[in-house]
């Protein structure tokens, strides 16, 4: 056991491990595109894992690192999904290069609304911010239900299946890279200061407003990207696929994996996706199990598996001297 621990300790120092893992996954993803390495179902599950990682890390930025409670992440997801799907099906149909810009567009639309929500968060926080994000979610949902152009309550059909494994991996890496760099920057410190005590942080001269805007915009951008990928994976979106239950699923991932931890978010998303697939035979009872897990987590391990700890691979060089391990 000591040998294993020694091995893990040395493994946690391998600075080349994370880039190597990324390159290896890209190679695998491209190979699986062209050769039948894995079947379609496995491919589907892996893409879902990727989308869920994007969702959980980006929500973790607001709920974990910043310590707010947003229940509106599914709203950003639906904004991204609709924006990108409108682009690929109505404005730029049959153009092979349209997928990347449309995902980007989806993310940007979500980021714009996220910016507006950040402005609202200046006045209120805690419970009232949760209410605002809830209202936001409901407004987005019923707005889409009332726009006939995007199909109203029936939803938008006939989206091309364009979310491939390499594309998903690309966006996962972009999201992780973006959020990791943000969290360990000056703004990341400000975000953590907001979590610990906003008033004190303000008094110390931390620019909490800018940090809030940045956190919300980055988080909602990634939420929108995930929504865009989701739309082009499922090939069908309707307003009720982005309801409060979807938000709850993302919350489960974040709080299961651990708040304030990228490795935790990844772990949460992976565990959640596989559990959800395994629970498929339960039918609607699955929707009982998910929130029940959330309740039990809150009661017995409120900070989740990784809870404010980080895998050293994600830490920048200068953080290592502090002796944080795993």
């Amino acid at each position: 056991l000591t040998r294993l621990r020694k091995f893990l300790t040395s493994a946690s120092r391998w600075r080349w491990a994370l880039p190597a893992l990324v390159v290896a996954s890209f190679v695998f993803a491209f190979l699986s595109e062209n050769y039948p390495l894995i079947n379609t179902y496995t491919q589907f599950v892996l893409v879902t894992v990727g989308i869920n990682i994007i969702l959980s890390t980006s929500l973790n930025l607001v709920n974990g690192y910043m310590g707010e409670f947003s229940v509106g992440h599914a709203g950003f997801m639906s904004l991204g999904a609709y924006a990108s799907a409108v682009l690929t099906t109505k404005w730029l149909p049959d153009i092979p290069w349209a997928f990347f810009p449309s995902v980007l567009f989806g993310g940007m639309v979500a980021a714009l609304i996220g910016f507006l929500l950040a402005l609202l968060s200046f006045k209120t926080r805690g419970d009232y911010l949760a209410i605002i994000t809830l209202a936001f979610l409901m407004i987005v949902k019923s707005a889409f239900e009332n726009i006939p152009y995007v199909g109203g309550p029936r939803g938008l059909l006939g989206i091309d299946k364009q979310t491939t494994l390499p594309w998903t991996l690309f966006w996962v890496v972009v999201t992780l890279w973006m959020i990791r760099n943000l969290v360990y920057s000056k703004f990341g410190r400000a975000v953590a200061a907001i979590r610990e005590d906003e008033i004190a942080a303000n008094a110390m001269g931390v620019r909490t407003r800018e940090a809030k805007i940045l956190a919300f915009v980055v988080s909602s951008f990634s939420g929108g990207v995930a929504g865009a990928l989701f739309a082009h994976q499922i090939q069908f979106i309707n307003p009720s696929s982005f309801d409060i239950l979807k938000s709850t699923e993302i919350l489960v991932m974040v709080y299961l994996g651990g708040i304030g931890s990228l490795a935790g978010s990844i772990l949460g998303a992976v565990i959640f996706t596989f559990t959800a697939q395994a629970l498929q035979p339960l039918g609607t009872w699955r929707m009982v199990v998910m929130p029940l897990i959330l309740v039990l987590l809150m009661l017995f391990r409120p900070r989740g598996i990784m809870g404010l700890r980080e895998l050293t691979w994600f830490l920048p060089e200068r953080e290592l001297s502090k002796g944080q391990l795993v």
Binding site: Y255, L294, M298
Partner: protein
């Protein structure tokens, strides 16, 4: 004009149901400063429980109301005991997440047990009266009457009894009150019991007024009542009543003049607008912020 008066009666009916549910949200927030997201689902359970009892025996309305209120009240107190009490010292966000989870557990359990919307039995014969072209049914009078009686009773309870004093004391200063010998846990349990009982009563009345009930009712109606509580200023009892009637009026009027699909859009937008200008609701007060 007659159309308007008719709509106004509908608005009062819907508003009194919203107000009853909103009271439950507000009472719990008052003592624990916690949003009980499971409350909407307790409202839904109230309607289903009424249906369940009515399918076995036919009871007079008043007895049924009391049974439903006691049952949902016990459910509310049970949830508090099991899920919220262990988290009282934890960060508030944990409690909110737990409440959200509890609500979804209740909702989806009901959904799994009863996947389709069920018709609600009529508990008594309702007659309609016509005054100058305006139609009022006994059911509407009964709903409004029961709601007003319950609200008046609650107001009395909070203002005049020792329990009410204890409850207001806890919401004023939760740290000092236990030192004064007030049994905090018992008061909180009782608050949940009463709040959930009112919610259950609202569920039953709602089921009688709009006689198709489904598991999604907790989100559709219960959360709307939550909006009402926030508009009025959550934690404020009178604010909850005001918010309930205000939201009922806005919804009925928006359905009367716009396509009904816009209803949710309008009520949630109203919430957002009010929160932007009065972040703590119409009758609420901003909490002191300390470092």
């Amino acid at each position: 004009v007659i159309y308007l008066i008719q709509q106004a009666i509908n608005a009062v009916q819907l508003g009194s149901i919203y107000a009853l549910i909103a009271l439950g949200y507000s009472m719990v927030y008052g003592v624990l400063t916690m949003i009980n997201f499971a409350h909407g689902d307790i409202f839904m359970v109230g309607a289903f429980f009424c249906l369940l009892v009515a399918s076995f025996i036919s009871l007079p309305f008043a007895v049924m109301l009391i049974i439903v209120m006691v049952a949902t009240g016990l459910l509310g107190a049970f949830i508090e005991r099991v899920a919220y009490r262990p988290l009282r010292q934890a960060p508030r966000v944990s409690a909110v997440i737990t409440a959200l989870g509890c609500g979804l557990v209740i909702e989806n359990t009901t959904l799994s047990l009863s996947p389709y919307a069920k018709p609600m039995p009529t508990l008594f014969r309702s007659e309609s009266f016509h005054f100058f072209g305006v139609t009022v049914s006994t059911l509407q009078i009964l709903i409004i009457g029961v709601a007003v009686v319950l609200m008046a009773g609650l107001d009395f309870l909070i203002r005049k009894t020792s329990y009410g004093i204890a409850m207001r004391a806890i919401s004023f200063d939760a740290a000092t009150v236990p030192l004064m010998g007030v049994p905090v846990n018992r008061v909180i349990s009782l608050t949940f019991f009463i709040g959930a009982g009112l919610g259950g009563a609202a569920g039953m009345l709602y089921g009688l007024a709009y006689p198709v009930i489904s598991a999604s009712m907790g989100i559709l109606v219960g959360w709307k009542a939550f909006v009402a509580a926030v508009i009025g200023g959550i934690g404020s009892i009178r604010g909850a009543v005001l918010g309930g009637f205000l939201l009922g009026a806005v919804e009925v009027m928006s359905v009367a003049f716009l396509p009904s699909t816009y209803r949710d859009l309008i009520s949630y937008s109203l919430l957002l607008v009010i929160l932007i200008f009065k972040p703590y609701g119409l009758l609420g007060s901003a909490p002191n912020q300390k470092v």
